[in-house]
């Protein structure tokens, strides 16, 4: 691996979401993974991003107001009644 082949850490962080998305392929993926394997800073940065994604996934989504539910149930019943 030549030095010029390497990606700067500053650029690595901009590729991390694409990497987690599986959107890097071929050469770009190879260079990303080679850098990652030898860089503690980027490994930690990627772990932070993974953690952010995991924690967002544990968020509880707000419940609907009961009045909204009732209104929409009414809509469904009216649609049924009207055929």
């Amino acid at each position: 691996m030549s030095v010029t082949d390497d990606i700067a850490c500053r650029e690595m962080v901009e590729l991390m979401s694409d990497y987690l998305e599986g959107a890097l392929a071929g050469d770009a993926l190879g260079r990303f993974e080679r850098h990652l394997a030898g860089c503690d800073g980027c490994e930690r940065a990627l772990d932070q991003l993974r953690e952010a994604v995991r924690l967002t996934g544990m968020l509880r989504v707000a419940d609907l107001r009961p009045s909204d539910r009732d209104r929409l149930l009414g809509l469904y019943r009216a649609w049924r009644a009207g055929g």
Binding site: R10, E14, C39, R44, D47, E51, L64, R80
Partner: protein
């Protein structure tokens, strides 16, 4: 969150007049639909009308639903079309830039964390990121962590917020989100990247401030 039945079963039950099935769908999608509609129209009240119209469109069209996309993607397409039409009628334009935010090209990390141009190893870390693997799980999962994430969701530009909610909070696939919100593959990825970067940065500020006990 309650898991919905698969699309085929759900569609059959909707056609058959199963109220519980309809309400399960409403519970899963309505809050996202209201926020999305709000991007295109002038007020929350109009957004509610748009969402109601969209549900009517869904019910009227359900017999013709072919299953070429997922049911929720199909519903969101009806919603986005209804909302855009209404927005145009209101004379309200919602340019992509105003919905997506003007920070799409901004760096995702504080540039001060990297060695300046002119140094010997340009763009390498000058300050190593903190190793979050040392943070205990009970601190990671404290209520404040989720308050921080909610705070970011509330402050992000609308499309970034919605992509992040659908992808990472609700677990939709990138194709579903792209189709539901009428985004190109690239735009979906850029919006997700920016939104995740903001969450990570906000969490870093929180985890790494004060005591980490």
């Amino acid at each position: 969150m309650v898991e919905l039945p698969d699309d085929r079963e759900l569609v059959e039950r909707l056609r058959a007049g199963d109220e519980a099935a309809f309400m399960a769908l409403v519970d899963a999608l309505q809050t996202s639909m209201l926020r999305i509609a709000r991007m295109y129209v002038s007020s929350a009240a109009v957004a509610e009308e748009v969402v109601q119209d969209a549900w009517l469109g869904v019910l009227r069209g359900i017999d013709g639903f072919q299953g070429r996309s997922s049911l929720r993607t199909w519903i969101f397409r009806i919603l986005v079309n209804t909302a855009k039409t209404r927005g145009v009628r209101e004379g309200r334009s919602a340019p992509f830039a105003s919905l997506a935010g003007d920070d799409l090209e901004a760096p995702s990390w504080d540039p001060a964390a990297f060695i300046d141009p002119g140094g010997s190893s340009v763009g390498a870390w000058s300050t190593l990121p903190v190793d979050w693997r040392g943070i205990p799980e009970d601190r990671l999962l404290a209520g404040e962590t989720f308050a921080v994430i909610r705070g970011v969701l509330d402050s992000l530009p609308p499309l970034q917020s919605e992509v992040l909610r659908l992808r990472d909070a609700l677990g939709w696939s990138s194709d579903e989100v792209r189709n539901a919100l009428d985004l190109s593959e690239t735009n979906q990825r850029v919006l997700l990247h920016r939104a995740r970067a903001r969450v990570r940065a906000a969490l870093a500020a929180y985890f790494e401030s004060g005591d980490t006990a």
